[in-house]
Each structure stands twice: as C-alpha cells, then as structure tokens.
C-alpha cells in the first residue's frame, strides 16, 4: 500500500549492518571448547511443527526406501560380523559427539559440524541415512533441536542428500585429486547440499505469493546462507584436519574399517 | 579342598608379536580361596586372566575348571563363562547397555534363562552389590564406585563359581574399596573363589590367603603373604625386596 524510496548508499549501509548484526546474533560464543556442552548446534534442521502435515509425510515417504536399504545393510553387516554392532553404535555416537564439538568458523566465531561427511566416507550413504536418523532423533529428544514430525525431512537433507553428494565426490575424486582436496570437497559440499535441500523443502512448503517456488527458494537460501556457507567451509577444513590426523595416528584402525587409501 | 580352577603350563604369544607373553604359567585356585595376583605391568597378568575366561586361546597348555579341560566351541565357552566370571579395571569398558537393569540382565539372558528367572538374578545380584536403588538409572548417570559395583553385579548375576578381577579395585577410593572387599567376603562365604589381580600391597597382605607373583610371563612365587613377605629368598627372586624397602634396585630403569 505504501512505498518509499531510499538512496542507494543507505541501502547498502543497512544491508551491511544487517549482515553484521546477523553474524553477531548467530555466533555469540568465543572459541571456547567448553561452551559446546549445552550450546545450540547451528546447522539447519527444520524444527518441530514447522512443516505442514502433507509435506512432513511426503518427506518420510521419500526417506523410507533409504531406511529400508540401510537397515538391510546394517542387519547383514551385524549378522556377518557381530563386532559391527558395537562399531556402528560407536560410529553413530561419534557422529553425534562431533556435532557437539566446537570448531572455529572461518568468519571468526565458532560453529558445529554435522559429522556426516566423515561417516559417509567410512560407512557409505545408506547406512549413514539410518545412523543420521538416529542422531536426529537424539537431537530432538536430548537437545530439543529439530523435530519428530520433521524427522523425515531432516533425514532427507542431512542424512541422505548430504551424504550422497559427499559419497559421490569421494568416489569420484578419490584417486584423481590430492587427498586433502577430496576430503575438503566431500565434507564441505555434503554440508552445503544439506542446506540447499532444506531450502528446497521450505520453498516447496511455503511458496512465495509473488514469485512462487523459485523466489521462495532464493529467499530461504539467502536467509540461511549467512550461517551455512561459512559452516560448510569450516566443516570441510575440519574434516581435512581430522582425516590427516587419523591417517598418521590411526591408519590401522582406518584400514580395519575399510577406508581405502589408508 | 577341591580345586576349582587349574591352569597348566600356558604358553601364549599375541599374533603379530615376537615376544611370548606367557611362558609356562601354572596355577590353581581352590573353592572358597582368596588369591591375589601381582606383577609389574607387562608381566602377563591380564593375558592370564583372559585365558582363564576363554577369551584367549593358549598356544600350549590347558585350562581346567572343576577338573574338566575347557574347550573353545560355542557351547563349551558358554558353559565355561557360566562358571568363571571376569571383571575388568575400567567399568566404562564393561557397561554397555543403556540402563543398569538392562546391563545386569545381559549375562543371565545370554545364558538362556527365562525372563522371570533373569529378573530374579538381577534383583539378587543388585542386592548383593548394593545397587538396587540404581536399577532404573541410565548407565552413564553413575559415579565411578557405583559403576564398578554395577559391573560386578552384571557378572555375579551369572552366578559363577569363580570370580576373576583384573585390577577392578584400582580406580576406587579407600572406602569403596572396603565396600567391594566386603562383597567379596560374602561371595567367599558362599563357597566362591576369587582371583584378584592387583597392585595394592596392603590389600595383598590383609585380604589374600595366597599370593601369586608373576614377572615376564612366568610365575615366580606362589605362597601365603606372611610367608612371601618374610622369606628373603622369595623376596629377592620376585623383586619385591626393593618394593618392601622402598628403594629402586640399580638394574631397573
């Protein structure tokens, strides 16, 4: 109903201010590793109750075949080697613990990795889908992050799409690119994919009244980009550091777990 | 006195290692006996205990329980572990279920007992170890002493005749240690035998009826503590003379 024109300068000034303030609101911690215990993971889970029931159901159905295949693989793994039961549990717990780790972010404050990049390299995407869902369940019930009705959607973004992209990159680049680059791209792009899919999920559920799905996707993508893009880069860097450390100190364990190139 | 556990001439080398860890170890444990096992780190104590529970298989030698040679097929191992229980040093390595009751019931259920019988075993073992009030707790929500007692209850729920304890008291404070030894007394009164690997010489002198000293994979002495600590020959052979005097021997780094 009413419109106002502002000068260009003021616009950019406002935008810069918003980014700065947004940055500060988002990362209010210092690089203190202990703030991790009890602080909020800042990656994108759709919270409980946010998705309309049709969409919530839809994403559960999308996730279902991955769960079925993943569960079948896990059952077979454990049947063949009973020791895998503990190992998978430890891997899942490790993924969860990693998400509670505080890492310095490239923008200067700190954030938390999703941990699925490393897990995918070790276990493959289907098993990771199941483990991720359990991690998400833990996060919903032990950290009040994410949700139960949105478990399907969050699994598709964080447990399926992310790991699938990561796995594809890992398989594709593994012996063709320098190790550190492969690991970085696997983790960073897996993380980025998670955020992109979440933006798609939100855009599908809440299309823009003017621009429809596309405009909505751009909107949600932009709004969350401030936190997610630096986080992806941070996670990429962290995973490289971790993998390097593991290769030098734990190559035996990695080999036992079947990581090629160890 | 009936011999419940007997180890004859065990030789063992970890796969991939050149040095044998056990070089002809023999010992025996009678019903209702309290025996302490001491030796420096790397002397083979833990390896020996793992053999007594069938976790490791010797290259040479045999383990007998109640006179019978122990086999390593599934059924035989099951029967073995029904009679010989083993608890380890760090309770976090032994509590693997989400809740205390679930963890204690693990052993009885593996033995094939019915649900009601298993429940009874859980209740009895918990009462013996003083952890009945913790049954509904998650296993991570326990203090160190509570965890050790729960780990013990988990093994006792299988009602073994022999209890092997691999330095299970070393992480406990003095009062908790007394508490655990009191539980051991109750077990001994029931006719069970206890073999406790320990570094604590005070416990060895006051609690044990017999002491076995190991070094470099061999048994150097097997005698009651009073005898061991007063015999200069035994003290020198086992190297305990330096410990008793409090002076480092010149040849030990």
């Amino acid at each position: 109903m009413f419109t106002r024109r502002l000068s260009r300068r003021v616009c950019w000034g406002v935008l810069a201010l918003l980014l700065l303030v947004g940055h500060r609101i988002v990362w209010a911690h210092s690089t203190d590793p202990f703030a991790a215990q009890g602080s909020a993971p800042r990656y994108m889970h759709i919270m409980e109750g946010f998705l309309p029931p049709i969409w919530a159901l839809f994403w559960f159905i999308v996730a279902l075949p991955f769960w079925v295949i993943g569960l079948r693989q896990i059952t077979k793994l454990i049947a063949d080697q009973p020791e895998m039961r503990l190992l998978l549990g430890v891997a899942g717990a490790f993924t969860f613990a990693l998400s509670a780790l505080k890492i310095p972010s490239v923008t200067g404050s700190s954030s938390h990795p999703t941990g699925t990049g490393l897990g995918t390299i070790l276990f493959g995407p289907f098993v990771m889908a199941v483990l991720s869902s359990i991690v998400l369940l833990f996060q919903a019930l032990l950290l009040a992050h994410g949700g139960l009705t949105t478990l399907g959607a969050n699994t598709v973004s964080m447990g399926i799409a992310g790991p699938l992209v990561g796995w594809a990159i890992w398989k594709g680049l593994h012996h063709r690119a320098p190790f550190w680059l492969t690991v970085f791209l696997t983790a960073a792009l897996a993380n980025l994919m998670t955020y992109v899919v979440t933006a798609i999920q939100l855009a599908l559920a809440f299309p823009d009244p003017i621009g429809g799905f596309v405009a909505s996707f751009v909107k949600f993508g932009t709004v969350f980009a401030v936190t997610q893009i630096p986080l992806s880069i941070s996670e990429g860097i962290l995973t490289v550091i971790i993998m390097n450390a593991l290769m030098s100190t734990a190559s035996h364990e990695l080999r036992t777990l079947g990581v090629q190139g160890a | 006195m009936t011999v419940l556990l007997e180890v004859r001439d065990l030789h063992f080398c970890y796969p991939g290692s050149a040095e044998p860890v056990l070089r002809g170890v023999s010992l025996h444990l009678g019903a209702g006996e309290k025996v302490a096992l001491i030796g420096s780190n790397g002397s083979g104590k833990s390896t020996l205990l793992l053999h007594c529970n069938g976790i490791l298989r010797p290259d040479r030698g045999q383990v007998r329980v109640a006179g019978q040679v122990m086999g390593y097929e599934q059924q035989a191992l099951r029967a073995w572990r029904r009679q010989v229980g083993l608890i380890f040093q760090y309770p976090d390595d032994q509590l693997f279920s989400a809740s205390v009751a679930q963890d204690i019931s693990f052993g009885p259920l593996n033995l094939g007992l019915s649900d009601s019988l298993a429940r009874q075993r859980v209740a009895d073992a918990a009462a013996l170890c003083g952890v009945t009030h913790l049954l509904a707790r998650p296993t991570h929500a326990l203090s160190g002493g509570e965890k050790t007692r729960v780990a013990l209850a988990g093994v006792l729920a299988m009602e073994p005749r022999i209890l092997l304890a691999d330095e299970a008291l070393s992480t406990l404070d003095p009062w908790m240690r007394l508490h655990m030894l009191a539980i051991f007394e109750r077990l001994v009164a029931q006719g069970k035998s206890i073999l406790l690997a320990t570094h604590d010489l005070h416990t060895v002198r006051t609690w044990a009826e017999r002491v076995i000293v190991m070094r470099a994979g061999q048994v150097l002495a097997d005698a009651p503590p009073a005898q061991l600590f007063s015999d200069p020959v035994l003290l020198t052979r086992t190297g305990l003379d330096a410990v008793v005097k409090g002076v480092l021997p010149p040849d030990r780094p």
């Binding site: 502002l6 946010f50 503990l86 430890v90 613990a97 | -």
Partner: protein, 256 residues
C-alpha cells in the same frame, strides 16, 4: 546436553508408561499440525507447559529455555515466509519497501501464515519437549521395541545412547587437557586442537568398542540380543487428561 536427559530420569512422572505420555504428546502435535487456527498452538503451549511444570516437576525456566532452543531457526524461517523480494513493484494489496532496485513486500496472507506457523511450531515443540523432559530415552526406545520396530535398530539406539555420554565425557577431558596447554589460545591453535580432539576421539571410540567387545564375550554374547521388558506404572487418569486436552484443542481450532 545431559540437562534434558537428567531431567527426564528424575522427573516426577518418570515411571509412568511411556506409551501414555507419547500418546498424549503425539495427539497434541497432530492437532497442532492439522487444525488451521493459531489458537490451537497457543492452547498446546499452555497445556504442555503446565503439564511439564506441574505434573512433571520440571522448573519453569528450564521449560522456557528448552522451548526457545530453536528460536533462531524460527526467526530466520519466519522472515523467509513473511517477506517477498522482487525486482518489480508488487501487486496491489501488498505493503512494500524499496531498497535500491529491490522491492521488499509482505501482505496479509503472508503475515497470517507466519502467525499460524509460529504458534503451530511452538505448540508442537512444547509437546515434544514435554515428552523429552519427562521420559527417559531408554523408555522411549523400549516403547519402539514394544511397537515392533526392528530389533537391530533398537539395539543400535541403545548402544549409541550408551556411547554418546562416554564420548562426550572423553571429549571434555581431552579438551581440558588441551586447554591447559594453551591449545585454544589462538585461532590457529584452536583449529589444530579441534582436529586433534576429533581424531583422538575417533581412536578412543574405536578402542572402547574393542574393549567392550571383550567384555561382551566374557558375558556370553554371541550375536543375538535379548532384553528384559521394563515395567511401568499405568495410570487410567491419563486417558481422561488426554481426552480433556484433545477436546479443548479441537474447540480452539474450530471456533470461527
């Protein structure tokens, strides 16, 4: 992180059948999602908040803090729903603001949707938190077992639950040791320390699983797992309570 867990197993209604508590929470969440009025969400927050505090015995500040855990996501997502961006002036009926070449606008529909979303999200979250704060995780996993979810999955969840705390504990100790040696004094050191921490944790986790395997074998484990069913208190009054909540939410959702 252990906060919610600790409240769960010390809550006053801890021993109540998790099926009853889950049934109540599930019905509230479903009603929040399918009834199209914000009053439902508000009602759900009030009901669930009240029950968590008075029935469950959880302190009000805790309930409030947990409810706001996803505040940041909600804020950002609502901004995304409310605002529309375009390069041309928006159609009639929109309030708008122009920043340089960009038009930022909103309209009544978007605002109404945002209002509904906020109340719905808070309502459903309050119900989920009720469950999380008053029911121990092991009970919920046991409920899934009763619902005949795959035993492999149940076992995996139990093992993960057990290990999570052990690993977090380990992580805390390693971080303390690092910090005492200036591991986090500079940004570069913090990066290195985090990487070392995670890899050390990995090895620690792996070795734990190996040691645990030995302990498992020594108690006769051969691959198939049996678990004793847990016992709970079943309270008939909970059905009445559930009915009351459901009816009041339906009423809130239907009034014009």
């Amino acid at each position: 992180m252990s906060q919610i867990d600790r409240y769960a197993y010390t809550s006053r209604i801890r021993h109540l059948d998790p099926a009853q508590k889950t049934g109540l929470a599930a019905l509230v969440i479903i009603l929040c999602l399918i009834l199209p009025r914000p009053a439902v969400g508000v009602g759900a927050v009030l009901w669930m908040g009240m029950l968590t505090v008075w029935w469950g015995g959880i302190p009000l500040p805790v309930v409030g803090r947990v409810l706001l855990a996803e505040f940041l996501f909600l804020l950002l997502a609502v901004v995304g729903v409310v605002l529309s961006f375009s390069w041309e002036p928006p159609p009639v009926g929109f309030w708008s603001l122009q920043l340089g070449p960009l038009w930022i606008s909103t309209n009544q529909g978007s605002l109404a949707l945002a209002g509904l979303l906020v109340s719905r999200a808070f309502g459903a979250t309050a119900a989920m938190n009720f469950l999380a704060l008053t029911t121990p995780f092991i009970d919920l996993v046991d409920l899934l077992r009763r619902l005949r979810v795959s035993p492999v999955l149940i076992d995996l969840m139990d093992v993960m639950y057990r290990f999570v705390f052990v690993l977090l504990d380990s992580m805390g100790r390693i971080a303390t040791a690092q910090q005492s040696r200036l591991g986090y004094a500079t940004r570069r050191a913090a990066w290195r320390s985090s990487g070392l921490l995670a890899s050390r944790l990995f090895v620690d986790a792996y070795q734990r699983s190996q040691r645990m395997q030995t302990a498992l074998a020594s108690r006769g484990y051969y691959g198939d797992l049996r678990v004793l069913p847990l016992d709970y208190r079943h309270d008939g009054r909970v059905y009445l309570l559930t009915a009351a909540v459901v009816v009041s939410l339906l009423l809130a959702g239907s009034r014009a």
